[in-house]
Amino acid sequence: MSETTFMGVPRNKIDWKPAIDYSKCDYCMECVKFCPHRVFEVRETEEIRLIVRNPHNCVVFCRACSKICGPDALSFPDKNATTLRIKEIRKEMEGHD
């Protein structure tokens, strides 16, 4: 389990997760071994052997898996846009209080 909110905003409202570029990924699975939040899932019998299984477990603003990715196959959404969106959602939530 990971935190279900980030700065008071429900985690599932924040679009922050790794995207896998399958043209670069060599299925070394270093990201799977690295991420303690079980964001990725290995599917040994499928053609696409790695997927983002639990996007909402991904720690908002963490990009550490992309740093250990040898083939540079992982990318993340724009950080500033995400920050702005979190602030907007917080304002919307205040409006409903």
Binding site: M7, C62, A64, S66, I86
Partner: protein
């Protein structure tokens, strides 16, 4: 000037970045002032290089983020004085690496560019921090979980983000670092890679990273600003983060850009303490 270094490159032969690291290592050793460690031979014959690696400062050159050379250094318990990663250097130089294994003009230019920068580095004037504070002394609330003790500073002016970073605000400046939660999870920290002085960092941008044999952690900056100082001592002794990540273990000092706006997404020590307790418990479930 890079002189009297032991150079440990990745030297991977199946990727352009690996070939470049090998080439850069050779370039640095051509002058006769540095010595090369062959990573392949080092694996099978420690004695050949151990003495050299322990008496000379060590420069580790990783090709890509797999960081084979760094891992080898960690495996052999070597103290790293400096390290760089070719894929990151290529990005900094605006060069897109392809799959070619023989160096073309752009890769040769990259080798020369990095070589020149490394040699100029010692001559750079380090910008002195404005209104620098020499040392910090905090009061702590603590949380004990099994044999692990987690401290959270409770002084006014301390803020946290939910990414386990802290910022101590004074005037228009902030010192930033990681919390006890991070250092306890990483266990023995072997490397600290600071941000560059002069870097403009956004809130939640990267402000340096630390690495142990278990994992890598990037400090997600709680505040936005320009880096005006880094903790040079920490580069030499990254284990200071394990001893105390708040006082002597600070990582960078920033001149703040827009703290009023940043504050909106920061929390105080009481809130962070509760969050950290939940994280510790979850990790041990």
């Amino acid at each position: 000037m890079i002189e009297k270094y032991a150079i440990l490159p990745c030297n991977g032969l199946d990727k352009c970045a690996g070939v470049i690291s090998g080439e850069l290592a050779i370039r640095l050793c051509e002058s006769g002032k540095n010595e090369l460690i062959c990573p392949v031979f080092y694996r099978v014959s420690e004695s050949r290089y151990n003495k050299m690696a322990n008496v000379r400062p060590l420069l580790v050159i990783d090709g890509c983020q797999t960081r084979c050379a760094s891992r080898l250094a960690a495996e052999k318990n070597l103290k790293v004085s400096k390290k760089l990663t070719i894929t990151e250097e290529a990005k900094n130089h605006g060069i897109e690496l392809k799959s070619n294994l023989r160096l073309q003009d752009q890769e040769k230019a990259l080798v020369e560019g990095i070589f020149k920068e490394l040699n100029e580095e010692g001559e750079k004037v380090i910008m002195a921090p404005v209104e620098a504070i020499t040392s910090l002394h905090f009061e702590y609330e603590t949380y004990q979980f099994g044999k692990f003790l987690f401290r959270v500073p409770s002084n006014p002016g301390i803020y946290f983000n939910e990414n386990d970073g802290w910022a101590y605000i004074y005037g228009n400046h902030a010192r930033v670092g990681v919390t006890d939660f991070v250092q306890q999870n990483l266990s023995d920290i072997l490397y600290f890679t600071p941000p560059e002085i002069g870097d403009e960092i956004d809130q939640f941008g990267e402000a340096g990273d630390i690495e142990s044999s278990k994992s890598v952690f990037e400090l997600i900056s709680p505040v936005s600003g320009k880096v005006v100082a880094i903790n040079e001592e920490l580069v030499k002794k990254p284990e200071m983060i394990n001893e105390n990540p708040y006082e002597e273990g600070w990582m960078a000092e920033l001149e703040l850009t827009d703290f009023e706006s940043d504050k909106e997404l920061l929390i105080g020590f009481e809130e962070y303490l509760e969050l950290m307790k939940r994280k510790v418990q979850e990790l041990n479930e």
